[in-house]
Amino acid sequence: MTATEKTIAVADPVTGPTGGRRSGGVLRLLPAVVVLVLLALVPFVVDPFGTSTLSRVLVFALFACSLDLLVGITGLPSLGHAAYFGVGAYTAGLVSIHVTAEAPVPVLAGMVAGGLAAATTGWLAVRNNGVFFLMLTLAIGELVFQLAQSASSVTGGSNGLFGIPAVRIAGEPLTLPGYVYWYVLAVAALGFAGLWTISRSPVGAVLRGIRDNEPRMRSVGYSPFRYKLAAFVLAGAFAGLAGGLFAAQVRLVTPSEVGFELGALALLAVILGGAGSLWGPVLGAAVVVLVRDGLGPSLDGHGPLVLGIVFVLAVYLLPRGFAGLAGFGRLTARTARR
């Protein structure tokens, strides 16, 4: 495999960020492999509380990355992305309770449900750009939140969906935090790999093109609507996957997992990290979770206060975090001015 690929890569006349990818593929994967190995070793050296905090970071990071596919790569800033996270979480929880908790059925069900929910609502949202898109996703997210609260016979209402059984692998329930962590790590790693693959694919290139210059993509023969809808559905599916992992890890799903605040925090993670790069939002997500869960208790549960301040500061001080949005912003300004 490597021999033929190398010759092709050398003959490859166009080298660019994607062009040289194959030949350097193994080397490029090396940092990812190292990180993965280090993360896998965590339960041996860190206490259970630290391990489960890291699980939460991974889940939230996967969620933030799925949002980055929309915000950073496609240029669609969504404030209602938590809706699909929540749909995934409730679906995985319900499947675990009523059908089977055997891995990976619940998370896959969550992923499918997230994608379906995104498909049924997304076609309306992606018809619009910029601030209209922001408003619509906000409205969609809030309506799903209210649904989660009012449909109490299914979701448990504001008490939440509890009694979710532990994930089972080959019939054996995973109860120790270390095992749960490894399960979360494995699924999240696959999720990251999936998002990375999509962002490097021809469709990923088209999505970046739409972000930078939608009218031009039209004139080159692409229908932006289809690609934006595809990005919305894929982002929803990966958010659903993250939600499914959340249900497996916390084993309690409440309406706040669907809420506006979670979606806003994910957007903060993306912006802190730098929209458009997939690793950036992972770091952003880590900061957000550590501030919320680490500082939160010492601030009497008012972690969001710190996050709100961070949010304000990030907008002023980290315009580079908006690098991915710069092209989109120019477009928005133009279309908004009609």
Partner: protein, 263 residues
């Protein structure tokens, strides 16, 4: 024979203003057709109507006998209409090669693939096109750092990467140095015969070096369609296009005309 592009009674109104007024035009396959006219004659609007980025108020647009009046802009692009825009319109955060690749992968690659592909055919085509337009050594440079002339060259490469049947060029030579615009003329002359070219251009050197037929637009309406020689000879065109006293531009040689126009 069915003309490749046929406009029948095409009009476009903006409120009380009629920018394009009942235009009839038939461009045969393989033609090199130029649209000229003074500023505000409706050339760019007419281009948008043909490309589908703006709907017509009246009339029909047919492509190779097929009525495409109701077809969207991407739909027309997929039927073989490619365009360069008057104001450079590229993907600024991406490299030169990636800009062309986006267009090329639609024809040569697997544009709906969700996993990375080598897209060898598309990448070879990109390299070929970049060599043709003279940007081969700039392929990894981000578009944002290209000069104005280079961006125009890249525009042409992007349009050609769509493998068009009908190529619409809106002032491709605007802002180019004489050397660059000579290169452009050579490139367009070397296009295969099955590509039909419609060009809007102010630089009459370029127009008369390329065009096999010319349409003169004035106030949104067709003043005259004919061969370059007929257009040069027409007194009506001289009045409308240049006003009195500047006939030299048309009666001189093309090269001399340019100097006269600048004087």
């Amino acid at each position: 024979m069915t003309p490749l592009l046929e406009l029948t009674g095409v009009s476009r109104r903006f409120g009380a203003l009629t920018a394009v007024d009942d235009v009839h035009l038939a461009v045969p396959a393989g033609a090199r057709h130029a649209l000229i006219g003074p500023n505000g004659a409706g050339k760019s609007t007419l281009f948008k109507l043909v490309a589908g980025s703006m709907p017509v108020s009246a009339g029909t647009v047919a492509l190779d006998g097929e009525d495409v009046t109701g077809v969207s802009e991407p739909g027309r692009a997929r039927r073989g209409v490619a365009q360069t825009l008057q104001h450079s319109s590229l993907f600024l955060t991406q490299s030169v090669a990636q800009n062309v690749l986006l267009a090329a992968q639609r024809r040569h690659g697997s544009r709906t693939s969700l996993v990375p592909r080598r897209q060898r055919a598309a990448r070879e085509r990109v390299a070929e096109l970049l060599t043709d337009v003279g940007l081969a050594d700039r392929s990894d440079v981000p578009v944002a750092s290209l000069s104005h002339g280079e961006r125009r060259q890249l525009e042409v490469a992007v349009a050609l990467a769509c493998e068009p049947r009908l190529l619409l060029l809106d002032e491709p030579a605007a802002g180019m140095s004489p050397a660059e615009s000579r290169r452009l003329v050579d490139l367009l002359r070397a296009l295969p015969g099955e590509v039909t070219v419609v060009i809007v251009e102010h630089d009459l050197d370029v127009v008369f070096a390329l065009a096999t037929s010319v349409t003169v637009l004035h106030l949104g309406a067709v003043l005259l369609t004919g061969t370059p020689d007929q257009v040069r000879a027409s007194p009506a065109v001289q009045d409308a296009y240049l006003g009195a006293g500047r006939e030299a531009l048309f009666t001189d040689t093309a090269g001399g005309g340019r100097r006269a126009g600048g004087a």
